[in-house]
């Protein structure tokens, strides 16, 4: 790859290729993009976050992470496309330029690097981390059940062989703990968007309790607006609502924790479901998926920008 324009955004890529792409993006636009190492995985791979910033210290920020469940490849691929979109649009698109003149954007493209590498080399269907569970032959923890929000409650498994194994304790997974430490030390993240696939949903807290989030009304109306924007491109229909009311009870989830940390605009996406391929969504759908999702994300960003708290 000579530059990020010659990268094929309509294809799936390995971890090495994505990490190399990040380095090229940073070198091309070092005035805007930097790469932060927020920790290491169980298998000692670096965990990287791209920071889009025009200056300042700990400005109000928007966080986006993609692919905490490693087999959801269209998610990481959409994260790459979005990062490139931000880099391209800065200075050209009025909205992105105005956001970045006042806020920072963080994107963690490969949130579960060990699992992602495993899906490319050993088991395409791997979802969890790759940590060893003492006393069990089964490997890995579901990182979206490992957060300190209703940890150990209903909607997560205590069985290490389950796909939704919550882990021995909250934050036991370095992939989770690295984000927790980063979010706490930053202290000024205003929107947190965690992206998964595939169910076509936009969800907000809570997942571990039926108690409505104090900002439920605002979160619901913003979700509707975001989904209207998303659907306007290709007519993709989404459901939206709180996790527990829309899909199922799930404890130890990402955005329940971020919301409880005071990040009001905490959302999680479930990208396209064609009813034919599941996680193995053909690569020709990457760009349409990313494009429509981007419209919803910019809606959330715009609301965050216009409603400081």
């Amino acid at each position: 790859m000579r530059n990020t324009d010659s990268f094929n955004y309509a294809s799936y890529h390995t971890l090495d290729e994505i990490y190399n792409w990040m380095d090229v993006l940073v070198s091309e636009q070092s005035n805007l993009v930097s790469k932060i190492n927020i920790g290491s995985t169980f298998e000692n791979r670096p965990i990287y976050v791209l920071k889009f910033s025009t200056g300042g210290t700990k400005r109000p920020a928007i966080w986006i992470d993609t692919g905490i469940h490693s087999r959801e490849w269209v998610t990481q691929a959409s994260g790459i496309w979005m990062a490139k979109k931000i880099a391209t649009d800065y200075g050209k698109d009025a909205f992105i330029t105005s956001i970045l003149n006042e806020m920072d954007i963080f994107i963690e493209i490969v949130t579960n690097p060990d699992g992602f590498h495993f899906t490319h080399t050993k088991n395409r269907m791997w979802r969890k981390t790759r940590s060893i569970n003492s006393g069990s032959s089964c490997v890995g923890v579901d990182p979206n059940r490992n957060w300190d929000a209703g940890f150990g409650g209903a909607g997560a498994s205590s069985n290490p062989c389950s796909e939704t194994y919550r882990g021995p304790r909250a934050n036991s997974e370095s992939e989770v703990k690295s984000i927790v430490d980063f979010v706490k030390s930053h202290g000024n993240i205003k929107a947190f968007i965690s992206i998964h696939s595939y169910s076509q949903m936009l969800l907000y807290p809570y997942g571990y309790t039926k108690t409505p989030a104090p900002n439920q009304q605002e979160l619901h109306s913003l979700a509707r607006k975001a989904i209207d924007a998303l659907s306007s491109l290709y007519g993709t229909s989404y459901r939206y609502g709180s996790i527990i009311n829309t899909i199922y009870q799930a404890s130890g989830g990402t955005i329940d924790w971020t919301y409880n940390q005071g990040i009001k605009y905490s959302y999680t996406f479930e990208l396209r479901d064609t009813g034919r391929y599941g996680f193995i969504l053909p690569a020709n759908q990457i760009i349409p998926t990313a494009q429509e999702t981007w419209l919803a994300i910019t809606t959330i960003m715009e609301h965050t920008y216009n409603n400081p708290y």
Partner: protein, 96 residues
């Protein structure tokens, strides 16, 4: 490397909460080694389950005997994975 030859992914549509509960019982049967891509939650939502070849007959008998509707979303998981691999190799060679 794990292979999925003959494995299928079924899309199951339930008509009531009773059938959802039956699917939850199915989820508990660890010996079938099912991987629920979308777990059973509500009759409004489909359930997608990756069924290893060795468990296909047992699962289909269970669904049919309980009058639970399903369709085969992925006929042979390995062939879809292979197709994906070919696409990746092809696009890599085009880039080079």
């Amino acid at each position: 490397q794990k292979i999925f030859v003959g494995d299928q992914v079924l899309r199951i549509v339930t008509k009531d909460m009773e059938q959802v509960t039956l699917l939850k019982d199915l989820e508990e049967l660890e010996n079938l080694e099912l991987d629920f891509w979308k777990g059973p939650t509500h009759p409004d939502f489909p359930t997608d389950v990756h069924v290893p070849f060795a468990s296909l007959q047992a699962v289909k008998v269970f669904l049919e005997s309980n009058n639970i509707q399903y369709s085969i979303m992925i006929e042979d998981l390995q062939s879809v994975v292979e197709e994906e691999k070919i696409q990746i190799i092809r696009s890599r060679s085009i880039e080079q």
